[in-house]
Amino acid sequence: MILHTVNKSPHTSNCLQSCLRTLSDQDALLLIEDGVYAADNHYANQTEALGEEITLYVLKADVDARGLQNRLSSRFQVIDDAAFVDLCVQYPKTQSWY
């Protein structure tokens, strides 16, 4: 059980692609910084195709900064910094894709 974070835009970087290749069931994916563009409902086909065992999160501060509040795929849960810490505790390991 790993918490994966991705902080790069899927439009300009291969980070998300590489992360998706290594995601196991029971893992979680948290998009932060420019990674949150992957939660845009105009782009999220790939993440929406993931099995329901994989939980998808997106960091609120980064969504708000980028004006994506009304563009998010419903597959993602929007979480605040405190919940980011909770995830880090809940999952025994993190892998950061950057």
Binding site: H11, D34, A61, D62, D64
Partner: protein
């Protein structure tokens, strides 16, 4: 400096907050405007994300770039171009953007590059 000035194309390719590039590119553009240099802005790739409305940067502790960009027309910077394919691949409608932009297809982008005397690449 403006009478015989070379016209400048500033190419804005980065999202607004992943690093300081968009911010520092905008500072450079404002300086060019202050010197009254003929100036065009081309937003492409993640640069088009700079133009999305509803940006609220309180949570990340950064300055809201979308509050500064609309200042440009007051400095007589008025040529804002956006690459069509960058908009399309991001599902963005040009009408929702915070600046009045002209959408260019790839042939028009080539012409824009060709007609510029100097390029600032960001």
């Amino acid at each position: 400096m403006s009478t015989t000035a070379k016209n400048i194309l500033a190419v804005m390719r980065t999202g607004p907050y992943g690093n300081q590039t968009a911010k520092e590119a905008l500072d450079a553009v404002l300086t060019a405007a202050a010197f009254e240099l003929p100036l065009s802005l081309l937003f492409m790739d993640d640069g088009v994300f700079q133009l999305l409305p509803q940006q609220d940067t309180q949570g990340i502790g950064a300055k809201d770039l979308s509050a500064t960009l609309p200042v440009l027309p007051m400095y007589d910077v008025e040529r804002f171009y956006v690459e069509q394919s960058s908009l399309e691949s991001r599902g963005i409608n040009s009408a929702e953007l915070i600046l009045p932009v002209e959408v260019l297809d790839s042939e028009q982008v080539k012409v824009l590059f060709a007609e510029s005397a100097s390029i600032l690449s960001f």
